[in-house]
Amino acid sequence: MDLFGDYTLRLVAVGSAVLGATSGALGSFAYLRRQSLLGDAVSHAALPGIALAFMLTSSKMPLVMVLGAALAGWLATLVVGVIVSRSRVPFDSALGMVLAVFFGFGLVLLTHLQKRSDAAQAGLDSFLFGQAASLLRRDVVTMSVLGVAALIIVAVMWKEFKLLSFDPEFAASLGMPVRKLNGLLTVLLVLAIVIGLQTVGVVLMSAMIVAPAAAARQWSRRLAPMVAIAAGIGMFSGVAGSVASAVVPRLPTGPTIVLVLSAAVMVSLLGAPGRGLLWRWIRLGDVSRSVDLDPVLMHLYALSMQHEDDPEHGHSVAVLRTMSRADADVAGALESLADRGLALRTESGLWAPTPIGRREARRRVDAETEDTR
């Protein structure tokens, strides 16, 4: 490969890495705050901003484009907010409507621009599906500066953002300026989206927000590792996808990145330890499939919690029977739990959970509380 190709590839790789890390990290917050689809609206809504910025300044300076896109995206979030708070139109309808109407306005502006005879507007439509190969040095510099700035703000405001994502009421009761923090987090999300538009495109940029976070969520239940993993997945997918599309002809960048991302999500959903679907299926001979095993194990665990100093304290079948459904085969369930090493019969004929059984039961309790959060 010649020197020019090498240089372009390096540029593309750096740019995609920055945008992957930024959107992965900020996407995690959006994911936890149930705002995954807001990214979709913001990225579509950025199109008229890009077109207007170009119409007003006649320049394709990256900072101008990013600023136009960010203003339009931010405006879209405000409009959604006004519609939801001031009318009975539900959130998802407001999102879909704003997304499509802004995008339609963008199209109107683009078709208007295309009538211009000067070729200056060429390349604007690469914003639809992204064109990594069109990245210039100045684009990557702008992306990097903005991306790193966004990440630094996240690091500085870490504690506030964390509280805001998990328990906004509590944050408010501590006297935090919840509204301002909300606004700041939204602005950062908008920033993370617009710096990716040229590479990934307005149509698919929302995947850069949702997918890394959804994948990372399977590997960790703590925020810091989740954000780090999401940033990592975003970086990897961004670099892999955009380099592939820069090397292979007729392979659009945005869709390629989305394919890599989706593969990462699938691997995470299936294989993440403890939570993944594969683990769920194969774990301990699939206890949950058989109707009576699960409750009996949970009852045994509940009883053993009463004897924390001696968790192997035995309990009679009769007690377990009163705790179970009337028609449950408790004795049989205990036998098969014993076969699987989840329960044991003491010398006096009573039953207790084994350490493995207790760990399995605890995991279910955790999973349960997590789901109801």
Binding site: R34, L37, V101, F105, L107, P252, L277
Partner: protein, 372 residues
């Protein structure tokens, strides 16, 4: 029929056909599913096209509708696994399917009439060139026939399943209790959405379908309360937006689909601002009326509290009133004017005194209706 008239007709039929299922999407709070479906049907269309090599094959419609239903199924399976919340499930499924479609097109269909731009954006202006010719007779543009058929299908489905759709939308658990399967209704509705999205695809592209499906019903939702009016007001708004959008596009020579979407948005914004009871202006007017009424009540209570005491000459003196009530002078003037207008207060030289009626209002305000 001139080409312009044909375009307007196609636009109106498409908009109305989209607004009908859209009404249910808005009410069922599943509007974003239309976004997901309209993107995700792309691979279905592309694969069916590779198999039939005919963009007009009805097989394309069926394949795309099936892909739409598959999309909904995938989203719901992801949700049911409880590994991913609902909004993220939508955000994971449709980009993947759409990407597969786009990559298939740009890798293998580079030289046929199927490019990403037309898929995404649609081009209504070309619709009249594609004619429906039967036994040598020109029956009009094909898109008009396709969308007309879909419109009739949607109407028929809504009329046939009127009660079931209504019940499942308003109270899904009651519907299940009465023996209607919400799943069957849900998936039929999604099939209807998919079919409409495919049909509209050619004309307006995959993203603007969303505007046609959501914005007119959302507009109707601001204006009316009952089910049937929502459907026909939504359809009327859709038709109106389509005509308006076409006119603007024609005058400015820009994308028809884009301008139709903008028209939908403008009409919604107008309704949001001006709707008789729910609009922003109505809300503001109601709020200021309430504020004024509260002011009048506070004024008469203040007067009643002081007017028979020695401090009356100070507390009830008009020029200093705003000071005692801690209001701005303008607000004081406005409230006093309103109170005079309602014969609750009267002037006695410099002093302002509550009338009998004013006293009664003040007593009611203090001790409540029953006590007074």
């Amino acid at each position: 029929m001139t080409a312009e008239l044909e375009i307007v007709l196609i636009a109106v039929v498409t908009a109305v056909a989209a607004a009908l299922p859209g009404t249910y999407l808005v009410l069922r709070r599943t509007a974003m599913v239309s976004d997901a479906i309209s993107h995700a049907i792309l691979p279905g269309i592309v694969i069916a096209f590779f198999l039939t090599h005919d963009l007009n094959s009805p097989f394309l419609l069926l394949a795309a509708a099936a892909t739409g239903v598959l999309t909904v199924f995938l989203i719901e399976s992801l949700m049911r696994s409880r590994l991913v919340p609902e909004d993220a499930s939508i955000g994971l499924v449709f980009p993947l399917l759409f990407s597969i479609g786009v990559i298939l097109i740009s890798r293998y269909a580079g030289d046929v009439h199927l490019d990403t731009d037309s898929v995404l954006l649609g081009e209504l202006a070309f619709a009249p060139f594609d004619r429906m010719v039967l036994a040598g007779v020109d029956l009009g543009p094909r898109a008009l026939w396709t969308m007309g058929a879909i419109l009739v299908l949607n109407l028929g489905f809504i009329l046939l399943a009127w009660k079931e759709l209504k019940l499942a939308t308003v109270d899904a658990s009651l519907a299940a209790l009465l023996g209607f399967s919400p799943a069957v209704i849900h998936y039929s509705l999604m099939a209807m959405v998919s079919l409409t999205a495919v049909g509209a695809f050619d004309a307006v592209g995959s993203i603007l379908v969303v505007a046609l499906m959501i914005a007119p019903p959302a507009t109707a939702y601001l204006l009316v309360d009952r089910f049937a009016p929502m459907l026909w007001v939504g359809a009327t708004v859709a038709a109106l937006s389509a005509v308006l959008g076409y006119l603007v596009a024609f005058l400015l020579d820009v994308s028809i689909a884009g301008s139709m979407a903008v028209a939908c948005g403008v009409v919604f914004a107008l309704a949001l601002a001006l709707a008789p009871r729910r609009g922003l202006f109505a809300q503001a007017r109601r709020r200021s009326a309430q504020r004024l009424d509260l002011g009048v009540r506070m004024l008469v209570v203040h007067l009643l509290h002081h007017q028979d005491t020695p401090a009356a000459t100070e507390e009830c003196r008009l020029p200093g009133l705003h000071h005692h009530l801690q209001w701005s002078e303008a607000r004081t003037r406005q409230v006093v004017g309103e109170a005079e207008h309602r014969n609750l207060v009267e002037r006695a030289g410099d002093l302002l005194l509550a009338t009998t009626e004013g006293r009664r209002l003040a007593e009611v305000a203090i001790v409540g209706e029953a006590g007074g």
